[in-house]
C-alpha cells in the first residue's frame, strides 16, 4: 500500500524579502508543488495523500488562496487528500476548513481530519488523525489520539503535527509529542506509521524508520535542512519503504564570505554564476573583511547585477562587516590634488580608524567621492 506523506504547505505565506514581482511567483510555485504532489501520487499508484498540518499559513489567508488550493488538489480527482489542521490552521472557531469557500468548493477527493476517530481508507488501512483544535493545546495530541486504540487487523497511519520531545529543549511544553510512546505503539503493532508535520526539514525520527517528518515541499527559510521533498511511503505490516521525492523548486541560500583580495571577489562571483534557476533563488550574503575602493566598486557592481537576476537578494546584516579603505593605488588613480586630496585623505583616515564610530560612514563617503569623481559626464 503506497501513499504520499507531505506537510507544511503553508499556502498563503508572504515573505518580506520578496518584492511585488517575486511574491506572486513564490505563491504560484507552492500551488505548483500541490499539483506536482497529486501527479506524483497518481503516477506512483498511491492510495491517498496525507498532509500533516499547516496546509494553510493561517486561518485568515486570502480566500482566493483557499480556492486555488482546492482547485490544485481537485486536479487529480483519483487521489484523495487528507488534510490535518495544524498550529497555523487549527480547527478552532475561525478555522479555514470551516470557511464558506472551503466548505462550498471542497472537491470530493479532499477531506479534513477533524477528530481522532479512525478512518478507513482503502483496503485494510486506517488513518488516525490528531488535529489541532486550538493554537495552544495542553497535551500531546498524537499520544492522546493513539491512546485506547484496540488492536485491529488494519494498517494504521497516525497523522500528527508538532514537535517531538526528543528535539525540543522546551521540556515544559505540554503539547510535545512523546517519541517513546509512539515507538512503543509501533513495536506493539498498535500503529504502523507516524506521518508528522511541523519540521520543515525531511527527517527520519527514532529507530523504527516508521516515524517521519516529511518537511516542507517548498522551502520557506534559510535554516531548513533538506526541504523541498515529499515522502512516498510503501507500507506493509512487516516492512516500510520511505522514498524522498523532490517537488520544490525554490531555494534559499545563505553564505558568509571573507573578502580581502580580488580572488575572494572572483570566488563570490563564480559561486553566484553557478546558481541554477536564479529567479527561484533567494540569496543572503554576509561579507566580512577589508577592501579597497576599486574592489568595493567591483563588488557593488557585481552584486547589483545578480540582484536583478535572483528571486531575491538580501544582505546578511548580522554577518556583514566589510571595511572599505582606499589604498594608495586608489588615491593615485583618482588623480586628486589640493583640497580634494586633503578631503579624501581625511575621510580615508577616518574610514580606516578602528575606534571611530563614524568609520562606516567615512568609508561610504570615500566610495561616493570615488564614484562621483570617476563618473564620466552622465549619471550612472
Amino acid at each position: 500500500m503506497k501513499f504520499i506523506h507531505t506537510a507544511d504547505w503553508q499556502l498563503g505565506m508572504t515573505r518580506h524579502f520578496l518584492d511585488e514581482d517575486s511574491q506572486p511567483r513564490f505563491d504560484e510555485a507552492r500551488l505548483d508543488a500541490v499539483r506536482a504532489i497529486g501527479a506524483l501520487a497518481a503516477e506512483q499508484g498511491c492510495e491517498f495523500v496525507v498532509v500533516c498540518g499547516d496546509v494553510f499559513e493561517s486561518n485568515y489567508v486570502d480566500r482566493k488562496v483557499v480556492g486555488h488550493a482546492l482547485e490544485a488538489m481537485g486536479a487529480t480527482p483519483a487521489v484523495d487528500f487528507y488534510l490535518l489542521p495544524g498550529n497555523h490552521d487549527p480547527l478552532d472557531a475561525s478555522s479555514v476548513f470551516r470557511s464558506e469557500v472551503f466548505v462550498r468548493r471542497r472537491p470530493d477527493n479532499v477531506r479534513v481530519l477533524e477528530n481522532s476517530e479512525p478512518i478507513a481508507v482503502g483496503d485494510g488501512v486506517e488513518l488516525i488523525g490528531a488535529p489541532w483544535m486550538s493554537k495552544h493545546p495542553s497535551t500531546d495530541l498524537v499520544g492522546a489520539a493513539c491512546s485506547g486504540l484496540e488492536t485491529s487487523g488494519a494498517k494504521r497511519v497516525v497523522v500528527g503535527h508538532g514537535q517531538l520531545d526528543s528535539r525540543s529543549p522546551d521540556s515544559l511544553n505540554p503539547a510535545l509529542i512523546i517519541l517513546n510512546r509512539l515507538e512503543e505503539l509501533i513495536a506493539s503493532g498498535g500503529i504502523h506509521y507516524v506521518a508528522l508535520g511541523d519540521r520543515h526539514s525531511t527527517t527520519d525520527e527514532g529507530d523504527s524508520g516508521r516515524i517521519w517528518y516529511a518537511g516542507a515541499p517548498e522551502q520557506t527559510d534559510y535554516d531548513e535542512v533538506e526541504p523541498g521533498n515529499v515522502l512516498l511511503v510503501d507500507l506493509e505490516t512487516d516492512h516500510v519503504a520511505v522514498t524522498r521525492h523532490r517537488v520544490g523548486r525554490w531555494q534559499f541560500e545563505r553564505r558568509q564570505w571573507n573578502v580581502t583580495t580580488d580572488g575572494d571577489i572572483d570566488e563570490i562571483e563564480s559561486w553566484l554564476e553557478s546558481l541554477d534557476d536564479k529567479k527561484r533563488q533567494i540569496v543572503k550574503l554576509g561579507l566580512e573583511g577589508q577592501v579597497s575602493l576599486a574592489q568595493k566598486a567591483r563588488l557593488d557592481a557585481m552584486l547589483a547585477h545578480h540582484t536583478e537576476l535572483l528571486g531575491a537578494f538580501e544582505a546578511w546584516e548580522r554577518r556583514t562587516d566589510l571595511v572599505v579603505v582606499p589604498d594608495e593605488v586608489d588615491i593615485e588613480a583618482l588623480d586628486l590634488s589640493g583640497f580634494a586630496l586633503d578631503a579624501l585623505r581625511e575621510l580615508s583616515g577616518r574610514a580606516a580608524a578602528k575606534d571611530d564610530s563614524g568609520a562606516v560612514m567615512a568609508q561610504d563617503a570615500v566610495a561616493l567621492m570615488h564614484r562621483l569623481h570617476q563618473r564620466n559626464g552622465g549619471d550612472r
Binding site: G12, T14, H16, L18, Y60, S94, S134, G338, M361, H373
Partner: protein
C-alpha cells in the same frame, strides 16, 4: 605702469601746466580746484581712452570757456619695457603724437599712435587693475572687488601650487549636486527623502493597523474557544449552586418555626412585665399623693405670711402719690395763666406789625395808581402821533426847498401891473376883478395869464420859458411839502415841530411811569397788592373788635415786642416746673401700682395654695377609697412572679435559635442564592459572547487578513530598507560635502593669504593691532574685525569703507607692482569722510605702501595728506602763474 610727467594745455581752466612725478613713492599734487587739480586726473583718463577726433560732450566740456582752442594733454610714462611720450589734442587741429623712447625709438601719429599705445598697454598693463586702483573724489567710495588678472597671477605664483583645477570644480559641483539630492539649502530633508519617509510611515501604519486587526481576530478565536471551555465549567457551577440552595432552604424553614415560637414567648414576657410595671406605678403614685399633700400645706402657710407683710407698704405709696398730684395741679395752673398772657402779648405784637405793613402797602398802591394814569395819558399821546425827528427833518428840508423855489420863481417871473384909469371890471385868470380908478393891480406871471377887459379886449401875458420852469419846480416843491405834512397830520413845519415836542414829552412820561410802577409793584400785581391791603385791614379790624379793653394795647410795636419777649422767658420757667412735677407724679403712681400688684400677687398665691391643698387632700382620699395601700402591695408581688415564669420560657427558645446559628445560615442562604443567580448570569453572558464572536469571526475571518497583513508587512520592511538606505546615503553625502567644503575653504584662505596679509598690515597702521579683514571668493572685502568685533563691510561707516577701499587698493598695487609692473594708485582727493586722527594714520599706511608702488594723490586740501611722511609734494601753479610760465 608709472606716470612720469603730465602736461595740460588749454584744458578746462588750465592754460598751460606741467607736473613731474617720481616713478616710485607717493606724490601729492596740491592745487586749488580752479587750477585744474581734478582736470589732471580727467586728462590722464581721457588721453588713453578717447580718439583725438572725438567730439563727445565731455570732450567738448574740456575746452576753456570762451576760447576757441584745442584742449591738449601730454603724458610721459613707462609701462613694462616701454617708455613713451604721448600727446593728444582735440577739437581744434586735433592730433595724436606718440614717441616711444625705450626700448627702441618709434614715432607715430594719429590713429596709429592711438592703437600703438593701446597695444603696448594691453601687453604690459592690467587694464582692470588700472580701473580698480583709481579712487575718484566723491565717487566709487565703496570697496570694489580685486578680482583682477594680475592679482590672481601674483597670488597663484605665491601659492606655488595648483590649488584648484578645473577638474575639482567638476567634482565639487557633483558633490554639491549629490548633497542637494538629499538636503535643502537650509539643511532640511529633501523632497525625495520626505516623500519616502512619508510612504514608509504610511506603510508602517497600514501594516500595524492590519496586524492589530489580525491580532484582534486571533484573540476573538482564542476567546471563543475559551468561552466554549468556560461554558461547561459554568454549567457545573450552576448545578452545584442550585443543589446547595435547596439544602440550606430546608434548614432555614426550621429556623423560621423557632423564631415564631420565640416571638410568642417574648410577647408573653412583655405582657407580664407590663403588669408588674403597672403595679409598681400604682404604688409609686400613692406615695406621691401623700408627698403632694404635705407640700401644699407648706406653700399655703408661706403665702399667708407674704399677704400679711404687703399692707403697710401700700399705704405709704398711696400717700406719696396724693402729694405729688396736688403739686402737679398747682404747677399746671400757673403755667396756664402764663401761657394766656404770653399769647395776648404775641397777638398784640403781630397786630401792631400788621398796622405798619398796611400803611406801607397803601402808600405803594397810591404811587402805582398815579403812575398808571400818567402812563395812560402818555400812551394816548403816543398812539395819536406818528411823528419822528427824522420826519420833522424831512419836512424842514421840503419847506426850505419851497422857500428857495418860490424865491427863484418870483425873481424870474413877468409882472403885470394894471392901473385903472377909471373904474373897471375885468377878468384876470378867469377871476372877476373890479378896479377903482387909480387902483393898481399887480400880479406876477409865472406861466401865462389871461386878462379880459370886458367887451374891450382880451390880453394874454405869457412868461418866458425859464419862469415857467421855476414855477413848475415851485409847484412840485409845494406838493412834496404838502404830502409830507399830510402824512403826519400837520399843516406846516411849525406844527410839525410842535407835534414832535409833544411826542417826546409823552415818551419821557411813559418811561417815568413805567419805572415807578415797576419799583412799587416789584413781584406783585396791582390786584395782589390790593388784596394784601384788604387782607391786612380786615385782620386789624377783627383783632381790634375781639381784643378786651384790659390790659390796654401797648403804645407801639417795639413796646409790644419787648413785652412778648419777657412773657416768653417766664413761660419757659413755668413749663420746666410743670414738667418736673409731672415726672415726679408719674414715679409715685408707678410705685403705687407696683405695690398694688405685689399685694394682689400675694393674695392670689394664697388662694391658689389653699385650692391645691384641698385638691391634694381630696385626691388621697379618693385613691384610698379605690384601693387600700395593702391591696396595692399584694398585686405588685403577684405580677413579679409572672414575669419570672415568662422569662424562663423565652430563654429556652433563644438558646435553641443560637444553636441553629440562624445569622450565619441566613448569610449562607443569601450567598448561595447570589451564587446561583451569578452562575445563570455568567452562563447567559458566555452564550451571548459566543454568539457575538461567532458572528464576528464569520464575517471577518473570510477577509483574508493574514494575507493582507503579510503583504503590508513585506511592503513596510521593503520601504524601511529603502528609507534606511536613503537616509544613510544622505548622511554620507552630507559628510562628504562637509569635509570637501571645509578643505576647499581652507585652501581658499591659504590662496588669499598674501593679499589679506598685506591689507591687514596696512590696516594696522590705521586701526591698530586688532585689525583684520576677510575676503570673499571674488577677492572683495567681505568683513572687517576690530577689537574682536566682526562686521560686514556694508555695516561700516562711510569713512571706514572709504579707508578700507584705499587700503585694499594700496595692498593690491603693492603686490602687483614690483619693477615697472602693476599700475599707479591714483587718489583724487578722497578721505573727505575721515577725522584728523584717522587721516594721520592713513598717511602712515599710504607712505608704507608707497615703498612698493606709485601713488599719486591729487588734492585741493593740502593739510589732508600732511602725514604721508615720504611724499613728494608738487604744487600746481595757479592760472595766472601758469600764464606767466
Amino acid at each position: 605702469m608709472r606716470i612720469h610727467r603730465i602736461r595740460l594745455r588749454n584744458f578746462k581752466g588750465v592754460e598751460n601746466s606741467e607736473v613731474h612725478i617720481p616713478a616710485d613713492g607717493v606724490t601729492i599734487i596740491e592745487g586749488d580746484n580752479e587750477v585744474g587739480k581734478s582736470s589732471l586726473a580727467e586728462a590722464l583718463r581721457l588721453v588713453f581712452k578717447e580718439l583725438h577726433s572725438s567730439k563727445k560732450a565731455y570732450i567738448k566740456d574740456t575746452q576753456p570757456v570762451g576760447r576757441d582752442v584745442g584742449p591738449e594733454v601730454e603724458v610721459e610714462a613707462s609701462s613694462g619695457r616701454y617708455r613713451f611720450v604721448y600727446r593728444k589734442r582735440w577739437l581744434r587741429q586735433p592730433e595724436t603724437v606718440l614717441e616711444i623712447t625705450e626700448p627702441r625709438h618709434e614715432q607715430l601719429v594719429h590713429r596709429e599712435a592711438h592703437e600703438r599705445v593701446n597695444s603696448l598697454l594691453d601687453e604690459t598693463l592690467d587694464r582692470v587693475l588700472w580701473d580698480a586702483l583709481w579712487v575718484d573724489q566723491g565717487v566709487r567710495l565703496e570697496t570694489p572687488t580685486f578680482d583682477v588678472p594680475s592679482l590672481r597671477q601674483s597670488l597663484d605664483t605665491s601659492a606655488g601650487a595648483t590649488e584648484a583645477g578645473a577638474d575639482h570644480d567638476v567634482l565639487w559641483e557633483r558633490v554639491c549636486a549629490e548633497y542637494a539630492r538629499y538636503w535643502t539649502p537650509t539643511g532640511r530633508m529633501s523632497a525625495e527623502r520626505l516623500e519616502l519617509q512619508r510612504r514608509y510611515k504610511e506603510a508602517a501604519e497600514a501594516a500595524e493597523n492590519l496586524s492589530e486587526q489580525l491580532d484582534a481576530l486571533t484573540d476573538a478565536a482564542d476567546e471563543l474557544d475559551r468561552c466554549r471551555r468556560e461554558q461547561s465549567r459554568l454549567s457545573k457551577n450552576q448545578t452545584l449552586a442550585e443543589r446547595e440552595h435547596q439544602a440550606l432552604s430546608e434548614q432555614w424553614q426550621q429556623v423560621l418555626t423557632l423564631r415564631n415560637q420565640r416571638d410568642q414567648a417574648e410577647h408573653r414576657f412583655n405582657a407580664a412585665q407590663a403588669q408588674m410595671d403597672a403595679a409598681k406605678g400604682h404604688h409609686a403614685r400613692r406615695g406621691k399623693l401623700v408627698e403632694q399633700l404635705n407640700a401644699a400645706g407648706q406653700k399655703m402657710a408661706q403665702a399667708q405670711a407674704d399677704v400679711d407683710a404687703a399692707a403697710p407698704a401700700l399705704t405709704l405709696a398711696t400717700q406719696l402719690r396724693d402729694e405729688a398730684e396736688s403739686d402737679f395741679d398747682s404747677a399746671r395752673r400757673s403755667l396756664e395763666t402764663a401761657e394766656s398772657e404770653l399769647h395776648r402779648a404775641q397777638d398784640d405784637r403781630d397786630h401792631l406789625r400788621r398796622t405798619i405793613d398796611a400803611e406801607l402797602l397803601q402808600e405803594r398802591h397810591s404811587r402805582v395808581n398815579g403812575a398808571q394814569q400818567q402812563l395812560a395819558q402818555a400812551e394816548k399821546v403816543l398812539d395819536s402821533s406818528r411823528i419822528t425827528s427824522k420826519m420833522v427833518d424831512e419836512i424842514e428840508s421840503a419847506h426850505m426847498r419851497v422857500v428857495r423855489a418860490d424865491a427863484r420863481t418870483l425873481s424870474g417871473a413877468a409882472n403885470v401891473e394894471i392901473s385903472a384909469l377909471q373904474p373897471m371890471s375885468l377878468g384876470i385868470g378867469g377871476e372877476a376883478f373890479r378896479l377903482e380908478a387909480a387902483e393898481v393891480h399887480s400880479q406876477a406871471v409865472a406861466d401865462s395869464l389871461d386878462i379880459e377887459i370886458a367887451e374891450v379886449a382880451t390880453l394874454r401875458v405869457t412868461a418866458g420859458e425859464e419862469a415857467k420852469e421855476s414855477a413848475a419846480r415851485l409847484a412840485a416843491a409845494r406838493d412834496d411839502l404838502r404830502q409830507l405834512c399830510a402824512g403826519v397830520d400837520v399843516s406846516d413845519l411849525s406844527e410839525a415841530r410842535e407835534a414832535l415836542r409833544r411826542h417826546e414829552t409823552a415818551e419821557s412820561e411813559r418811561e417815568s411811569a413805567q419805572k415807578t410802577i415797576k419799583q412799587d409793584l416789584r413781584d406783585l400785581t396791582v390786584d395782589v397788592l390790593e388784596q394784601k391791603i384788604r387782607g391786612l385791614h380786615h385782620g386789624i379790624e377783627e383783632y381790634r373788635q375781639s381784643r378786651p379793653e384790659e390790659p390796654p394795647l401797648p403804645a407801639d410795636h417795639d413796646e409790644a415786642r419787648r413785652l412778648a419777649s419777657v412773657l416768653e422767658e417766664q413761660h419757659t420757667v413755668l413749663l420746666r416746673a410743670r414738667d418736673d412735677s409731672e415726672s415726679r407724679l408719674a414715679q409715685r403712681r408707678k410705685a403705687l401700682t407696683d405695690e398694688e400688684v405685689r399685694q394682689a400677687v400675694a393674695a392670689n398665691r394664697l388662694e391658689l395654695a389653699q385650692q391645691a391643698n384641698a385638691a391634694a387632700e381630696n385626691d388621697l382620699v379618693e385613691a384610698r377609697a379605690d384601693k387600700s395601700d395593702q391591696e396595692l402591695r399584694d398585686s405588685f408581688d403577684a405580677a413579679e412572679a409572672q414575669v419570672d415564669a415568662a422569662e424562663q420560657g423565652l430563654s429556652g427558645l433563644l438558646s435553641r435559635l443560637r444553636e441553629a446559628n440562624e445569622d450565619s445560615l441566613a448569610d449562607r442562604l443569601d450567598n448561595v442564592r447570589d451564587a446561583a443567580e451569578r452562575a445563570d448570569r455568567e452562563l447567559n453572558t458566555n452564550r451571548d459572547r459566543q454568539r457575538k464572536l461567532q458572528i464576528e469571526l464569520g464575517i471577518r475571518g473570510n477577509e483574508g487578513l493574514h494575507t493582507k497583513s503579510g503583504l503590508a508587512e513585506a511592503a513596510r520592511k521593503r520601504l524601511h530598507r529603502q528609507h534606511l538606505s536613503l537616509e544613510s546615503r544622505a548622511e554620507v553625502a552630507r559628510l562628504l560635502h562637509e569635509t570637501l567644503s571645509r578643505h576647499r575653504e581652507a585652501a581658499h584662505r591659504r590662496y588669499l593669504a598674501p593679499f589679506k596679509a598685506r591689507i591687514d598690515d596696512l590696516g594696522r597702521h590705521v586701526f591698530g593691532s586688532t585689525f583684520s579683514v576677510e575676503l570673499d571668493n571674488e577677492l572683495g572685502l567681505a568683513r572687517r574685525t576690530l577689537d574682536g568685533v566682526t562686521l560686514e563691510v556694508d555695516q561700516l561707516s562711510t569713512g571706514a569703507r572709504e579707508q578700507l577701499g584705499i587700503l585694499a587698493r594700496l595692498a593690491c598695487a603693492a603686490i602687483v607692482s614690483p619693477g615697472k609692473g602693476g599700475a599707479p594708485v591714483i587718489i583724487d582727493d578722497a578721505l573727505g569722510w575721515s577725522d584728523p586722527q584717522r587721516l594721520q594714520y592713513m598717511g602712515s599706511a599710504i607712505a608704507s605702501a608707497g615703498n612698493h608702488c606709485q601713488v599719486i594723490i591729487l588734492t585741493c586740501t593740502p593739510g589732508r595728506y600732511a602725514h604721508v611722511g615720504n611724499a613728494q609734494v608738487v604744487n600746481l601753479p595757479s592760472s595766472s602763474e601758469s600764464e606767466r610760465a
